[in-house]
């Protein structure tokens, strides 16, 4: 039954992913500006004649009808090649394999931080409603909701430099090569991203927990004489977590988007940085493949979260 459910969900996600490919493909081609201006740099493009431009576009394959360019891209995607960088000819799949782990680690750290910080703060706010602790936690969550992650990131970079004369290592060092150095690269961006999302988690956890702890079954649990800790953690929190979990899935999209800015601020050479660079260069092939990858990840993360519902609430069945 579960396999059927997963299959159905995957089937439903296909139109969404196709929609993503069409939108990003067209958006990149509709955007104003000539990619050749980037390719040839300052003082370059203006030296091209119309014949030069036609020849270069032919070489790059951007003179062909859009539907043929799109079909070629889809062919590359389904064969796993994902094409080559428009300009330098680098393989996009190799770029993803090389840089993807760093971005994935940052996302995992961010999710962990958001739960480790957000959940206790939310619980504290709910069980100590309108106390000083509640006021302080609400104040802090609003601050982190309001302040953009990239600004916090720049602050962390500058403070760690000026106060501790510290800067993270340059370049990519994978976790299996040198775990300690790798952590120096991913920890700070992960924490910065996690702080922003922890604010969402905290507010959602507080709100849902406040609703749940007023339910009859919680009152019954208290009436039975259960310790408050058990009432909250075993009975109330488990049900309160369902919306929080859903929010986490949505926030993962925010993390993917946020990683673009935060990676840039920390100069972490992850996929976010690659996406910014490719976009600046109008490197269509890299941008459209990375956006598609982000879309696929988003779909799978949300599917995984849906599957976890059954773990938290046995009443949920995947029929």
């Amino acid at each position: 039954m579960l396999a059927k459910y997963i299959g159905r969900r995957l089937l439903y996600s296909i139109p969404g992913l196709i929609g993503i490919t069409i939108i990003i493909f067209l958006a990149l081609r509709i955007l104003p500006g000539d990619p050749l201006a980037i390719l040839y740099g300052e003082g370059g493009r203006e030296n091209l004649t119309a014949a030069d431009i036609a020849e270069i576009k032919r070489q790059l394959g951007i003179d062909r009808p859009l539907y043929i360019q799109y079909a070629d891209w889809m062919k590359d995607v389904f064969t796993g090649k994902m094409g080559e960088s428009f300009w330098r000819g680098d393989s996009v799949s190799e770029l993803i394999i090389r840089r993807g782990p760093l971005t994935a680690e940052i996302a995992v750290v961010a999710v962990l931080v958001s739960w480790i910080i957000g959940l206790p703060v939310g619980i504290l706010g709910a069980i100590k409603q309108n106390s000083m602790a509640d006021y302080i936690s609400r104040f802090l969550t609003i601050i982190f909701l309001a302040v953009p992650s990239f600004w916090v990131a720049i602050l962390v970079v500058v403070v760690s430099l000026l106060a501790f004369n510290y800067r993270p290592p340059l370049g990519i060092i994978q976790i299996w090569e040198d775990p300690f150095t790798n952590l120096q690269i991913v920890l700070a961006p992960g924490i910065v991203l996690g702080l922003a999302t922890s604010a969402y988690i905290a507010r959602m956890a507080r709100t849902t927990l406040l609703e749940v702890i007023r339910d009859d079954y919680v009152r019954t649990a208290r009436a039975k004489g259960l310790p408050e800790r058990l009432v909250v953690l075993r009975h109330a929190l488990r049900n309160a977590l369902l919306p929080v979990l859903t929010l986490s899935g949505v926030l993962f999209g925010l993390l993917l988007g946020g990683s673009v800015a935060v990676e840039t601020a920390f100069t972490v050479p992850g996929l976010g940085t690659a996406l910014v660079q490719a976009f600046t260069e109008r490197d269509f092939v890299v941008v459209q493949n990375l956006v598609l990858l982000y879309g696929i990840i988003f779909v799978f993360v949300n599917l995984s979260i849906d599957l976890m519902y059954a773990v938290l609430d046995p009443r949920i069945r995947y029929d």
Partner: protein, 615 residues
């Protein structure tokens, strides 16, 4: 100390001294043609003022009058007889007594190259990372900050009496990274491509070679450039960092398209001191020493790792924390911090680049076709205020019509202009504003009445030009009552709209291929030049002056023409010229074997071959 007295050093010194002796005693020196002897590279701690005269600027000097041997020049016994008698082959080495070998230099800065074809590229993002894999025919000295042209793959060159034929003598035994030997065919193929590009290829520096009629090979180690008219700056143009020598076979095998071929490899070989180990797009370049490099003394480093970091705080932070040894584009934010707190361990250098910044003008727009209007707009720009406003982002210099690093008149003209001429006062005076208002009134727009609202197109580069635009806009409004609407656009849009004339004023900066006033004027203000971004601008009088200036070698006439040209530009005002840009480099003091403290521009010292690590 032992390295100072190695067998190699002693032999080299002995041969050098013998050659000095032979030449000093009147060694054979043919009267014709006049030969351009390689000038002596200067030690890092010697100031620019002590540098030897530039080779290309001394056409009347005879080889036997040149200082032909220095502690840094070593003769090689395989020189062809004719040239051997004139000049020993310059073999660079670090100016210090005991350069140490080994180590990997880490440096950071710049975005990644858009592609791997240096001849088709016009950005430092190509020249800086890729320069280490190639050599040039001639090069700029790495010891004086890149002022002087010295031999590279050509160990000597001659200019005919009429200045129309340049003959270059190539070193023998120079190997490309794939093992093939360099010949004159490779030099010809390289410069044919640069000067006479095929359809579908751009050559941004073609304009400085328009006088070249033909390149011909005399024998495998001799190549001639035949010109239609004399051009004094030819050696300087040839030595430009982007004009690297490519292998003819590589060009033919790839249908002249090298954009996707990583350099320093067997598929895209250079002859340079380093070989490419790895390149990850937007991340790093990793190079190792070329064991077959033609100069056995160089390079000293075992390798170079170049990380791409965004211009600004990231590069400065990497330098301060010891992550890198050298940074290009340190960012103004950390410049003062490094100077104040890290001066014992690090050095920061601010140097001008041959560039202009300001508002390019569409001369076909209503109102802007009148030079009085353009001059009025120019006069009310408080250039010093703009400089101060953007100081935290980028250091700029108040602009004048002669680039500050022009070797002949840059400093002179600035001295005569700044705080002396209308529009160059700091702060702007009431007289400047009153005169500008009168000019606008004379053009038919008293108090700006009836003047159309201008489309002020701004290129979206924060660290570059976009912060200047609101100030330019404000000065126009405040002093002349001219309205404008700022339109910030992506670089690609900026260039497309500029080419199509979809702007009134277009804010940007622009580099030139040479730190030379005639080349710069010929690029940006000459009628019909591909790099003249002032749509519809034309001044036949100015064009004629540039034509004469480019061919003039007489210093007095050059000065006269330069001053005349600047005066024409001042009145004509083809663009609203605000500033020259600078680059901030920083390096650790243990980095030796270079003259970057005196660096004069960005594209003429990109090899890193003489650098060594004193740690």
């Amino acid at each position: 100390m032992s390295s100072m007295f190695s067998v190699k050093s002693v032999v080299s010194l002995t041969v050098s001294l013998l050659l000095v002796f032979v030449i000093a005693c009147g060694g054979t020196a043919p009267a014709e043609p006049q030969s351009q002897a390689p000038a002596a590279p200067q030690a890092q701690d010697q100031s620019a003022a002590t540098a030897a005269p530039a080779a290309q600027a001394a056409p009347t000097e005879r080889p036997d009058e040149e200082p032909t041997a220095t502690p840094f020049a070593t003769a090689v016994p395989t020189v062809p007889p004719k040239v051997q008698a004139e000049t020993p082959r310059l073999m660079l080495r670090a100016p210090e007594d005991n350069p140490q070998r080994g180590g990997v230099m880490q440096w950071a800065g710049l975005s990644d190259s858009p592609h791997f074809d240096m001849h088709q590229c016009n950005t430092a993002a190509c020249a800086q990372p890729q320069g280490v894999y190639f050599d040039n025919l001639l090069r700029y000295s790495p010891f004086d900050g890149g002022k002087e042209v010295i031999p590279d793959l050509a160990y000597g060159w001659e200019v005919s009496d009429d200045g129309l034929v340049y003959t270059f003598h190539l070193r023998e035994g120079v190997l490309f990274h794939d093992g093939a030997e360099l010949t004159s065919e490779d030099v010809k193929a390289t410069f044919d491509r640069i000067i006479f590009p095929p359809v579908g290829m751009i050559s941004p520096r073609q304009s400085v070679f328009v006088a070249v009629e033909e390149i011909r090979t005399v024998d495998p180690y001799t190549v001639e450039f035949v010109l239609q008219a004399p051009r004094g700056f030819m050696p300087a143009a040839i030595a430009n960092g982007w004009n690297v020598i490519e292998r003819k076979q590589t060009l033919e095998d790839n249908n002249l398209d090298l954009k996707k071929l990583k350099p320093g490899t067997t598929v895209h070989p250079g002859t340079g001191p380093f070989i490419l180990e790895d390149h990850q797009a937007g991340e790093f370049w990793k190079a190792s020493r070329n064991p077959n490099y033609w100069n056995p003394e160089l390079p000293y480093l075992d390798g170079i790792q170049h990380s791409h970091l965004a211009y600004g705080p990231a590069t400065g932070a990497a330098l301060i924390t010891g992550r890198v040894d050298y940074v290009y584009g340190a960012g103004a934010d950390l410049r003062d911090d490094i100077r104040q707190n890290y001066s014992d361990t690090h050095t920061v250098v601010v140097y001008p680049i041959p560039s202009i910044g300001g508002m390019f003008v569409n001369h076909e727009s209503d109102g802007l076709s009148d030079p009085r209007v353009r001059r009025a707009i120019s006069m009310v720009q408080d250039r010093c205020a703009i400089k101060m406003a953007v100081a935290a982002i980028r250091e700029i210099e108040v602009g004048t019509w002669v680039v500050p690093n022009d070797p002949d008149f840059g400093a002179l003209y600035r001295e005569a202009t700044l705080n002396k001429k209308p529009g160059y006062n700091c702060p702007a005076t009431g007289d400047d504003v009153a005169n500008a208002q009168q000019l606008l009134a004379d053009a038919g727009y008293p108090n700006g009445d009836g003047f159309p609202t201008l489309d002020l197109m701004v290129r979206d580069i924060n660290f570059f030009v976009s912060p200047m635009a609101p100030m330019m806009q404000a000065f126009m409004k405040q002093s002349l009552n001219i309205n404008s609407e700022i339109r910030v656009v992506h670089t690609s849009v900026w260039q497309e709209d500029r080419d199509q004339g979809n702007y009134d004023l277009a804010v940007n900066g622009a580099p030139t291929p040479l730190a030379s006033t005639p080349a710069y004027w010929g690029s940006w203000f000459y009628t019909g030049s591909g790099s003249n971004w002032n749509r519809g601008s034309s001044n036949p009088e100015f064009d004629a002056l540039v034509d004469e200036l480019i061919g003039t070698t007489d210093p007095a006439r050059k000065e006269e023409l330069t001053l005349q040209g600047a005066a024409i530009l001042e009145e004509w005002t083809p663009m609203i010229f605000i500033n020259h840009f600078t680059i901030i480099d920083g390096f650790a003091n243990y980095l030796k074997g270079h003259g970057r403290a005196n660096r004069v521009t960005l594209f003429n010292d990109i090899r890193f071959d003489t650098i060594w690590l004193d740690k």
